[in-house]
Amino acid sequence: MHPISIAYITAISQVLSLSAKNQALNRLNRLGLHLLFTHIPPGWIPGPHPADLTPAWQMAGLPVEGVGYSTLGTIGEGAQTSTASGRPRLTIRPGWVAT
């Protein structure tokens, strides 16, 4: 793919991601609750990303409102990996739930 196309996709995706993150933060403010990850083991990816899961829960028929944090932690064969490297991942996905 052409470098300009990659830069374009990256820029668009960052804008979309920011929008999704703002939506999640608004939801957390509405619930009045937040999570703070005080201990991330060495080698884990320190990148919990809040996502508003309320639409997904409601589409599934669950009367649930909340936010999920994905994803935290990736270790394979004792070495840090990423999703792109295609190794099994360990995750912590905390979510706020209000029914």
């Binding site: 793919m1 996709i9 990256t10 995706s13 960052q14 979309l16 991601s17 929008s19 999704a20 993150k21 939506q23 999640a24 619930l31 009045g32 609750l33 937040h34 999570l35 703070l36 990850f37 005080t38 201990h39 991330i40 083991p41 884990w44 990148g47 990303h49 996502a51 508003d52 899961l53 639409p55 997904a56 829960w57 599934a60 669950l62 649930v64 909340g66 999920g68 994905s70 935290l72 932690g73 270790i75 394979g76 999703t83 792109a84 490297s85 295609g86 190794r87 099994p88 991942r89 360990l90 995750t91 912590i92 996905r93 905390p94 979510g95 706020w96 739930v97 209000a98 029914t99």
Partner: protein
């Protein structure tokens, strides 16, 4: 404490995760009878339950352990999380293929969760970690203690 209703929320989470990775028919189910409370405890003075059990699902990293043998439906995490925000993106598979799409490999997810009840019966923090068993390795067993330590140090902040 009833685990089942809370697990349903977790199942939707995993289904959304796979779906946002481009899996068209995400599979996720509870291994019958596997989930159980292994400890009643407290977390920041909130009542909490440590639970463990097994989910049957699929890997989001493809059938192989190498990038070229797997798939990466969305090029970046940002695009994937944009889908969580309800933004519908065209499937990249409609574009000229850059990487071959592989099947979503079935696997077992061993889960360790700390379910924390905040204030009322209807307010929960679900902290959970999943480790895959596949390719002859039990990643859950390798990192269980590390994950448990990490779980117990998540701080819940009100306001």
């Amino acid at each position: 404490m009833e685990i089942e209703p809370l697990l349903q929320a977790a199942l939707v989470d995993q289904r959304a995760w796979l779906s946002n990775y481009g899996c068209r028919e995400p599979q996720i189910s509870i291994q019958p009878g596997s989930f159980r409370v292994i400890e009643e405890t407290t977390h920041q003075d909130y009542p909490a339950w440590l639970v463990q059990g097994t989910l049957q699902s699929q890997s989001d990293v493809g059938a192989g352990n190498r990038y070229g043998n797997g798939y990466f439906y969305y090029r970046t995490y940002e695009l994937m999380f944009a889908r969580f925000g309800g933004i519908r993106l065209p499937p990249l598979s409609t574009l000229p293929p850059v990487w071959p799409l592989a099947s979503y490999h079935p696997l077992e997810l061993e889960c360790l969760g700390l379910f924390v009840r905040i204030g009322s019966h209807n307010h929960w923090a679900l902290l959970y970690y999943c480790g895959a068993r596949w390719a002859g390795r039990d990643y859950f067993a390798i990192l269980r203690n590390e994950a448990l330590s990490s779980l117990k140090q998540v701080r819940i902040i009100s306001g």
